[in-house]
């Protein structure tokens, strides 16, 4: 059974989160993946490419300018959701998957605004008991007001 504390979050949007796309953060990200693409590493190469500058790998949107939770990318709304699920007796959490739609490349130097919305929360029965599936939709818009990407992330709690 989902508690009211959980269900009242359906359809709720979080505060916009401001993200800065720094070159060093792009390289740190690419290094962690093991991606040596010169578009992320080589300024001169990137300048002469169709992009004209270092870009971020698809799916990297920079780093927030401030955060209150131990997890810098966890929007307050998702933090709230996770706490509500723990209180409702579903403390175990795994990442179910992600869906992206990329509209424009993200460039080094961009400032993005991310807005997350809890679009759905529902239960599903499994062999191991009840699973709570929650879906968070996030839009990323750059400093020119252009939508650069949409992400749809699924969390599974049990």
């Amino acid at each position: 059974m989902l508690t009211e504390e959980v269900t009242k979050l359906i359809g709720k949007s979080g505060q916009p989160m401001i993200l800065e796309v720094e070159r060093g953060a792009i390289r740190k990200f690419a290094d962690a993946v093991g991606d040596k693409n010169p578009l992320y590493w080589d300024d001169e190469y990137a300048r002469n490419s169709r992009y004209g500058s270092i870009i971020a790998p698809p799916g990297f949107f920079g780093w927030p300018v401030k955060w209150d939770s131990p997890m810098p990318f966890l929007p307050a709304i998702r933090d709230e959701l996770i706490m509500a699920l723990i209180n409702a007796g579903y403390p175990r959490i795994v990442d179910g998957g992600i869906e992206f739609e990329f509209c424009q490349p993200v460039r080094f130097g961009d400032t993005l605004v991310a807005v997350a919305k809890i679009s759905d929360i529902y239960t599903r029965e499994s062999k191991g008991g009840t699973l709570v599936i929650s879906v968070t939709e996030t839009s990323y818009t750059n400093q020119h007001g252009t939508l650069v990407a949409l992400a749809c992330q699924t969390l599974i709690n049990r």
């Binding site: 962690a32 991606d35 698809p58 997890m71 795994v94 990442d95």
Partner: protein
């Protein structure tokens, strides 16, 4: 230095995407945690991982997602554009635990990223290709299935 260009005309349904090998070490997971901001102890704390029912620290799902994205961007090159990407984290993957700083762990492959073309077409003047992608473990199991749509160049005249 300039990479080769992938043309829409050279891709057919069933075409395999060049595979990408990865070595998931505990060190890579620490790097990913720092670079992605995912500090969930599930990926580095044994006692916590055990209490969560996964046995020991597991590879971040989003890291596997980033590997698949790299496979796709390597394949389409900088003239291509990754339009849509999705994947599901179906099966846990475990990193190779590092026992010493000098062990040649990079020579060992723990995971393969693979994919193949499932559809191609033209929409809104864009030449697109749809693919099925996945991460495979050492047992050959598809732990992380996904789908992608890429926009690539055409040999047709009058297309930038």
């Amino acid at each position: 230095m300039r990479r080769k260009v992938l043309y829409w005309e050279d891709v057919e349904i069933g075409t395999e995407i060049p595979s990408l090998s990865k070595t998931a070490t505990s060190q890579m997971l620490v790097k990913w945690a720092g670079a992605s901001g995912d500090f969930n102890p599930l990926h580095y704390e044994f006692t916590f991982a055990e209490s969560q029912g996964v046995g020991r620290p597991i590879v971040h799902g989003q890291l596997k997602r980033a590997w698949l994205v790299q496979m796709l961007t390597d394949w389409i090159g900088e003239e291509g554009f990754l339009r849509k990407f999705s994947c599901q984290f179906r099966t846990m993957d475990y990193p190779i635990m590092m026992k010493s700083l000098t062990e040649p762990v990079e020579e060992k492959v723990s995971h393969w990223c693979k994919g193949k073309v499932t559809n191609k077409g033209v929409e809104n003047d864009e030449h697109f290709v749809e693919c099925e992608v996945w991460v495979e473990n050492e047992k050959g199991e598809k732990t992380t299935p996904g789908k992608a749509t890429v926009i690539i160049k055409t040999k047709e005249p009058n297309h930038e």
